[in-house]
Structures are given as C-alpha cells and as structure tokens.
Amino acid sequence: MKILLVDDSRTIRNIQKNTLKTLGHEDVIEAADGFEALACIAKDRPELMLVDWNMPNMDGITLIRKVRETDKALPIIMVTTEAEKSRVLEAVKAGVNNYVVKPFTADTLAEKINQTMAKVKATAGTPA
C-alpha cells in the first residue's frame, strides 16, 4: 500500500515512517506542503494520505478540500496539533476520514491507520 505523508517537519515524517514500518508499510512517499502533495498525487495516487494542518505554502485543510474536489475515495487522516472541537469539525467537513492529535503515540497512530483502512475496506465491500 502506497502511503503519502504530508508534513513540513521531517522529524514528524520520520517518526510516522518508523511507525508505518512496524505495521509493514514501507512504500512511503513524502511531501512538505500541500503543493508538493498535489504533485505527488497527480503523479502516482497513494492509497492513504496522512496530512498535517499547519504548513507553509498550502496548509493541510486547503489540500484536503482540493483533493476532495476530484477524489472522494482517497483515505485521509489528519495528524495535527489542532485539537479544538471546531477544528476537528472543520476537518471532517472538508473530508477527512480520521483525525490524530499531536502529540501521539505510535500505538495511537497505528490504531487510527488500521481503523481507517478497515472502514474503507468495509465500505468498498458494501453493495450499493
């Protein structure tokens, strides 16, 4: 499964990559802002995207809105310090599938990824 990590902090991307590795996901691509992420998606659509909120050039919420204009199916998990209820609601409205608040443990991130993918799989298997 190809996973796109979008965060301006390389430290956070490395922490996320290590967690994903323990889950058996090694096909990881990285972007440092929304523009880079859009370019990655256009080139090779990932099967899961983890997105930070506060980033330079194009922030995460703008990125998610842009992605959802053309792709309703890509599973997206927001991983951010933004923890207020109003922010979470804004992200859900924009189209995120799940939400992880920083600071996070590896277990929490792993749980949310598994939860998200299980839900996506179940939905895909549901007859229309």
Partner: protein
C-alpha cells in the same frame, strides 16, 4: 497574565515531553522573566494570534537541546544536524498547539515555528505582556518555557493579529 493561559502550557509541556520525548518532566513554579535575563542557546518560538496574542518560547541550553531533540527524533542530533532545528521547532509547535485547545472560548491560531540558535541571544516579548518563565527539569537537563499570552480585544472570528517577536 491570566492563569487560564498558563495552566494549559504546564499540562501541554508534560504531555508533549512524556509522549514524544519519553522523558519524565518536573515542572517548577512559574516566575516573571526579568528583562535583563539572557535566554539560553537554543530557542523554539511560536506566535499565537486570533482571540489571543502572544508567543511561547522553548529555551534550552545547547547540550540539553541536543539530547532532547535526539530523543524526540529517535536519532543522534547535534546543533549542526540538518534536522536539529526542525525537531526543536516541532516540539514548540506541539506545546503551543496542545496548550491552545484549553484556552476556553478563546480560539487561537499558531504560527509556523522559528528556531534561533546561538549563545547569548534574547527573545523579547510584546510590550503588551511580560514573559512568564515555566522552569522544567528532565533527565536530559533543565530548560525553560517562556509564555506571554493575553486575550485579544477583537471578538472571535475577526482578523488575527500577530505579535512581533524579536531575537536580540
């Protein structure tokens, strides 16, 4: 400064350092920063705007910053490592972001982090509010979190105003 803006930082510092740095942390009694007090060697700075204005500075001695950044990143970092300032900035980002969720009705936005490295520098807060220093002690050594936050007079939802933070 209102205690309702300080207690969230105390909780956030504990949460971030225990979760991401895997370090036990002892937090001392907050005190007013004297204007002539020189900051430490490494400062991670985040501005706050929106319904509040101010900033938070994570201020470390160099050796402590290296140990903490290394524990956070999971790899040995020195002040010359390309990812050193990224790690310090992200810790500041997490502390500020985690604290602001507990500001009650005051919805705040945070800036992207800035990191200043070099001995003898000083970070000056806005004239609107002095810094309160929250002393922290860990197994890696001590550091300070400096906080200056006041409510913005503008009602919620209006344009945000940043407070200038100058490295002297």
């Amino acid at each position: 400064m209102d205690v309702k803006f300080i207690n969230p930082f105390i909780a956030a510092i504990s949460n971030v350092f225990q979760t991401m740095v895997h370090a036990k942390i002892k937090i001392g009694k907050p005190m007013l920063k004297q204007s002539d007090l020189v900051s430490a060697e490494v400062s991670g700075i985040i501005g706050l705007s929106g319904d509040v204005m101010g900033c938070v500075v994570l201020s470390f001695p160099g050796d402590v910053a290296c140990k903490i950044a290394s524990a956070f990143a999971g790899t040995e970092l020195t002040m010359k490592s390309p990812d050193f300032s990224d790690a310090i900035g992200e810790l500041a980002n997490m502390v500020a972001g985690n604290a602001k969720k507990d500001f009650g009705d005051h919805l705040a936005s945070i800036s992207l982090p800035s990191v200043v490295i070099g001995p003898g520098h000083q970070v000056s807060p806005s004239k609107l509010s002095p810094f309160l220093i929250i002393p922290c002690e860990t197994e890696f050594g001590g550091f300070n979190v400096e906080v200056a936050v006041i409510p913005n007079k503008k009602p919620a939802g209006k344009s945000a105003q940043s407070v200038a933070v100058g490295a002297v």
